[in-house]
């Protein structure tokens, strides 16, 4: 198992109280596998990823418990230096907004080359040649001529490819992509996701894809973890979850998205709003919005029940949810 997150808890200590952003998250990614982490704002999906990468702002953030095992070593127990080395070379992250993640005053070639200069001790000339090679690999046309361009001279899709190139430069074992295509147009999104999938296959990397877009997930993922209020509420291989979701939240989400191939009546809408993380409702965090909520939901936090092989659901009534198709 390439990455295993066990019972992770992350809190933020703010002036108004303790925000429990991540409350006992478990997931794992194997080599060559794509895990999609699905959730809306406030679900904790980005915070978990940032904790794995080690880029959380430590005050006010605080890792309050759990383990993050990368190639069987606990990242949380490592020394800072060691962790930093791993972060640079074996794990990489791709962010949503490529423009603000790239340094505007350095050329693209310099930024790409920097990875090699710093981590592999290459000369600038060699690093630049490597940069051109990388740009070719992510299919940026006329790479040799454009290696001296600045980030703002590229379009959004190209910039995202440059980000991918930077992430891949040192051939990491794990890539975490945090909403990599949300800010992109749909045709560009298709190109970028294709590229990512192809490169993943080539390098046999593990990929954690964080998104809220159920369509992108269906295209790319092998398995899904659905998060709500800092917890995982359902995990499943990708094919099964669309046919038969085992958690009311997943079901609600699937029912509420309009379909390209259907024109229907009123959309199903999950009533209410995502919870305020300062005051997570007792029991199951979804209970105020759940059409199936019973008394037990308001008092007992549901554990992850085993639904089937490789499938789990944190709902007391997962069976009824599954059956009522």
């Amino acid at each position: 198992m390439l990455l295993e997150v066990r019972d992770l808890h992350v809190e933020f200590h703010t002036r108004d109280g303790v925000v429990k952003a991540v409350n006992g998250v478990n997931y794992s990614v194997a080599e060559g596998e794509t895990l999609a982490v699905l959730g809306e704002s406030g679900s904790g999906k980005s915070v978990t990823a940032q904790a794995v990468m080690g880029i959380l702002d430590m005050p006010p953030g605080k890792i309050a418990g759990g383990e993050i095992l990368f190639k069987d070593r606990d990242l949380l127990k490592m020394k800072k230096e060691e962790r930093r080395k791993i972060r640079g070379q074996e794990m990489a992250m791709i962010f949503q907004d490529a423009l603000s993640s790239l340094n505007p005053v350095l050329t693209v070639g310099e930024q790409l080359g920097e990875m090699y200069v710093v981590h592999r001790g290459m000369s600038r000339k060699d690093a630049k040649a490597k940069a051109v090679e990388l740009m070719d690999r992510v299919r940026i046309p006329a790479a040799r001529e454009r290696v001296g361009n600045y980030p703002h001279q590229f379009s959004g899709g190209m910039r995202q490819r440059i980000m991918i190139a930077m992430a891949l430069a040192l051939e990491p074992s794990l890539i975490i992509a945090d909403e990599p295509t949300t800010a992109l147009d749909v045709t560009v999104q298709a190109q970028v996701m294709d590229l990512l999938a192809e490169l993943q296959r080539e390098l046999n990397m593990g990929l954690i894809l964080i998104t809220h877009d159920l369509g992108v997930v269906a295209d790319v993922a092998d398995k899904i973890a659905v998060m709500y209020a800092g917890r995982i509420v359902e995990t499943s291989p990708v094919h099964d979850i669309y046919k038969a979701p085992a958690h009311p939240y997943t079901k609600g989400l699937l029912a509420s998205i309009p379909r390209l191939d259907q024109k229907g009546q009123e959309l199903y809408a999950i009533k209410g709003l995502p919870p305020n993380l300062l005051h997570i409702p007792p029991g199951c965090a979804f209970n105020p919005r759940c059409p199936m909520a019973q008394d037990v939901c308001r008092t007992d936090v549901p554990p992850l029940y085993d639904v089937a092989e490789h499938r789990q659901s944190a709902c007391h009534f997962w069976k009824e949810t599954l059956d009522a198709r």
């Binding site: 379009s155 369509g215 997930v217 295209d219 509420s256 309009p258 379909r259 999950i270 995502p274």
Partner: protein, 444 residues
């Protein structure tokens, strides 16, 4: 038939008939029928590019909107889709007079509103209102919600007498699904979805007939989008509103629109009813756009056709000659460079009954079904799925356009297709690296 005006008159009548049929199928939509409430003709907006410090010389222009023509019927929803830079937001701003057009006309109930100013303009503003995209910047953070929604009444005091205003504001809050007792709160005390509702309430205050919604749900969470879309639907039925719904999310546009127009680089490339556009697109850009939209169904990846466009959108300051889409189109030929295709019903379909008979700006328009028909994507377990997939693939192979002659030499190796579905015989170039920059590839 009468040769001279057969085309236009028939098109109009057919359009109206189609609209009536469709509107009746939407629950509770009181369609007035008759003349369109908004007629936009050849709308143009160029932003000049200047050089020089003291004396500015114009060296070019960003042609954000370059000849847009459409009608909007009373009680109907026209969806406008396109990617960034296509000019749809500019069209929105032109419709509500936040920008002045460089050329063209916008007729509201017969009167050209682009020429108005002063009091006449102010009176017209009451009838065309806008809902903005970003719920976090579209409300003044220093005004209470009551003030925000009540401001239209302060600007147009003839709509509501002073004593009545508070009650009207509370009614509006109720109509959009918010507790009227929150009238004294500030925007930052609400969530994104609620703020968007406040923005909608503000848009409704003056009882407009037309609402231009510029990406009203793009910035919201998925579960909240459904709530707001439902609200817009309901309000349309209740108040007989006409919407111009601008978005880049094709699924939502289909859900809410009666007719849809696809924009590319400042022009409409195709326009028709939602069934016509989504199920029978004829313009290559529309087809590419539809094929790129991810569908929440993992079976789709096995037998859905993907058209990948290559290259970037050209700059609106320097659009390609002739057909603007030709630099990325797999069908492009010499004619496309020389002759601008008109947005009209393609000759091939003019005399047929097919739903492909809607205006499309392509010299080589042909119908190509990209979105699988409703119900196709119901996942079928095990081997049965493979056979069905094979059948469908064979169908598509027959449907595939015979006349398209791509410029680049066909490269026979398609991209690694998943194991189950048999390959559709590769027709065009596939893969990316050896591509000439102005091509596109089709992946099955």
């Amino acid at each position: 038939m009468h040769a001279d005006h057969s085309g236009r008159k028939e098109a109009r009548e057919e359009g109206e008939a189609a609209r009536t049929l469709l509107s009746k199928s939407r629950q509770g939509n009181a369609y007035a029928g008759g003349e369109p409430i908004l007629e936009v003709r050849d709308l143009v907006k160029h932003y000049p590019l200047t050089q020089g410090i003291l004396i500015k010389k114009q060296v070019g222009a960003v042609k954000a909107v370059d000849g847009v023509t459409f009608d909007l019927g009373a009680g109907e929803t026209l969806g406008v889709v396109g990617e960034s830079g296509c000019g749809k937001s500019t069209v929105a701003r032109l419709l509500v007079h936040l920008e002045q057009p460089t050329a063209g006309s916008i007729r509201y109930k017969g009167e050209d509103i682009t020429k108005l100013s002063g009091r006449a303009l102010k009176a017209v503003r009451r009838n065309i209102q806008m809902v903005f995209q970003d719920p976090y910047t579209s409300l003044n953070p220093r005004m209470t919600v009551g003030d925000i929604i009540g401001e239209p009444y302060e600007i147009h005091p003839e709509v509501a007498p002073k004593g009545d205003r508070r009650r009207k504001v509370q009614d509006l809050l109720d109509v959009v699904g918010l507790n009227p007792e929150y009238i004294n709160r500030y925007p930052h005390q609400f969530s994104g979805g609620q703020r968007q509702r406040i923005g909608i309430a503000r848009g409704l205050a003056l009882n407009p007939e037309i609402i231009v919604a510029d990406e009203p749900v793009s910035a919201l969470d998925v579960s909240v989008q459904a709530q707001v879309v439902n609200l817009l639907d309901r309000l349309q039925a209740e108040f007989n509103l006409s919407y111009v719904f601008i978005a880049h999310d094709l699924s939502i546009v289909r859900h809410i629109s009666d007719r849809v127009g696809v924009m590319y680089l400042g022009r409409f490339v195709e326009i028709g009813t939602d069934a016509e556009i989504y199920d029978h697109p004829t313009h290559p850009y529309t087809q590419a756009l539809l094929s790129a939209v991810p569908v929440p169904d993992p079976m789709a990846r096995e037998y859905r056709e993907r058209i990948i466009l290559h290259g970037d959108v050209p700059s609106p300051a320097n659009p390609p000659s002739g057909c603007r889409f030709r630099t990325r189109c797999w069908k492009a030929q010499e004619r496309c460079e020389l002759e601008v295709p008109l947005l009209a019903v393609p000759a091939a379909f003019r005399d047929t009954d097919s739903p492909a008979r809607h205006p499309s700006a392509c010299h080589f328009a042909e119908e190509k079904r990209v979105v699988p028909p409703e119900g196709t994507l119901e996942p079928v377990p095990g081997e049965g799925g493979q056979e069905e997939a094979a059948d469908r693939a064979a169908e598509r192979a027959e449907e595939a356009p015979p006349g398209a002659a791509p410029e680049a030499a066909p490269d026979t190796a398609p991209e690694a297709a998943p194991d189950t579905a048999p390959e559709v015989p590769p027709e065009g170039p596939a893969g990316g690296d050896e591509e000439p920059p102005s091509g596109s590839s089709r992946v099955s």
